[in-house]
Amino acid sequence: MAELSKTDEAVDAPAEATEEKAIAAFEAPVERGEPILQVRNLVKHFPLTKGVLFKRQVGAVKAVDGVSFDLYQGETLGIVGESGCGKSTVAKLLMLLETATAGEVLYKGQDITKLSGRALKAVRRNIQMVFQDPYTSLNPRMTVGDIIGEPFEIHPEVAPKGDRRRKVQELLDVVGLNPEYINRYPHQFSGGQRQRIGIARGLALNPEIIICDEPVSALDVSVQAQVINLMEKLQDEFNLSYIFIAHDLSIVRHISDRVGVMYLGKMAEIGTDAQIYDHPTHPYTQALLSAVPVPDPEVRENRERIILTGDVPSPANPPSGCRFRTRCWKAEDRCATEEPLLAIPTRFKGQDTPAAHVSACHFAEEKTVLAV
């Protein structure tokens, strides 16, 4: 709260002073369990244009359309959803790789979506990313040492020039690679090893938040577990907060403290891992969980699966009211006119049940689906 009042005072102050204040705020530590990142009504619309010279906007792809969540210090927030639901766009917005159309991302109480210059650089140091594809996210013409050391070129205060090689070797050691590999090129490594290089690069600047966009989906099954274990070890060691975006629900459950389910640019349901997996109240979450193949042939005979019909509608022209209504078996007239808000369903309000967590459905109710 102290930081919040600081911003209020700074409204009239010269830009430079605001910047200083923001940077000072970014350096302040956050207690474990306090929110480190607060996302408020984040919106990203990609314009659809017509014409070559005089581009007219004829519509917008509403990739992210009003998403709000908190990330607490030291926790892992999993984000799941089908492709095209906007989860990767959220990652890009948090990384400030895309400019938000509207909404706020508060990092330690400061809105970072409109920052520039030194303050922006300071935030970027603290929020890093690990990408999905370890084959295309590493430059094939740079050595591993150059790849992991590149963040130090941009932020020289983290490691003085003479110290860099040693620092890079330390990082290689931390992620379980041989420090002697520093002069090798990415093609000399396997997929799992490359992902370790990507993680080492993400760790280089001692960030507080790491956003992982499908970090293990390109890896072989036997190697996935190794990388997941490494990420959990690093979280404890460096006190990191993760946003873990993935479509593999069993892995998300394993690593996450809380899970958010996204559908067509909106959050459908957020709760702790047990709330989401054992007591889902949103029909989409229920369908998603029931569709996951369970690695146990014994359950296949007596297992009820909810198979959704059709595909995700186009985000350029989302359905009115509730976005899930076109594929939902509970949909009624009200769903087409009134958009359900992400709130604790009224029927569970004030009750001490695991179903009492936020869910954006008019007819939220518990349904037992076989958890992964």
Binding site: S222, A225, A291, V292, P295, P297, E298, L308, D311, W329
Partner: protein
Amino acid sequence: MTTSNLTEELPAQRKGDDETPVLEVRDLHVEFKTREGIVRAVNGVNYSVKSGETLAVLGESGSGKSVTAQAIMGILDSPPGRVAKGEILFRGQDILKLDEEERRKLRGPKMAMIFQDALSALNPVFSVGNQLGEMFRVHQGMSKKDAKLKAIELMDRVKIPAAKARVNDYPHQFSGGMRQRIMIAMALALEPDLIIADEPTTALDVTVQAQVMDLLAELQKEYAMGLILITHDLGVVADVADKIAVMYAGRIVEQAPIHELYKRPAHPYTRGLLDSIPRLDQKGQELYAIKGLPPNLLKPPAGCAFNPRCPKAQDICRTDVPALVPVTERDGAELVGRASACHFWKEQIHG
């Protein structure tokens, strides 16, 4: 919305072939000549599929599961690849001895393949109707007009909405799940006896994956086809397969009926794969991980290919390649369809 149950009963077998499998692969060896040397991608694979049966071939990338399928279909890139040894019996006839024209007549009417990435497997410059109709025009000499009607019928069959209106659309105009349905329609066009599905749902979301697997299971049952499902997903396998072959470094390391394999794996690699699935009661603990990396097939390790990663490896594992031997109960009773290529399978299965 529909709720469904994938396996109500085993599909009725086609009459007269209860005993002979549709396809039998015997001691298949495939190698690739590269500048660095000969890569032995498949080293003596044996498996068989009966009508109406689903065989899952499970393995990591580079284990030779797709190369085996390519050899069966006769679409191996050769050179550099070639079948070095072995037999592929289709209804008792060795198809490796057939000439290219005869092989071609098999592909489509007798056996068909569904590929992983439908966008790159379909031709982007022809409409889907044209590509579906090609099966009928080429193999049955049908006219363009009739072939298009057949294509619409097929698209209806795989539940593509508004098939008539979409028959002239191009592959990029369809979503991933719809494209995969078109691939399935194409494979089914001539009602083959055998379908090989190479990672058919890996590129799809879970909700769409469930739709596609459901459709595949339903059609397989209807036509009583043999299905070889190539995948690395232990969940998908558990849902649909009747029996399973686990491949590692070009060899089958374990073979078993589906229920048996998940209950009592007889090979340390299978054990490792099953253990590395995150389970509820392990939350917050370290996941079991198979250490190390899959082997480089240019320089496969001596002895058992899994020995550098195996927690139970002994001296014999580093020198002798274990044969795929039948697995029995503790008292010697036969376990039908089970085999393991581990020197210590007894210890693995019986503790």
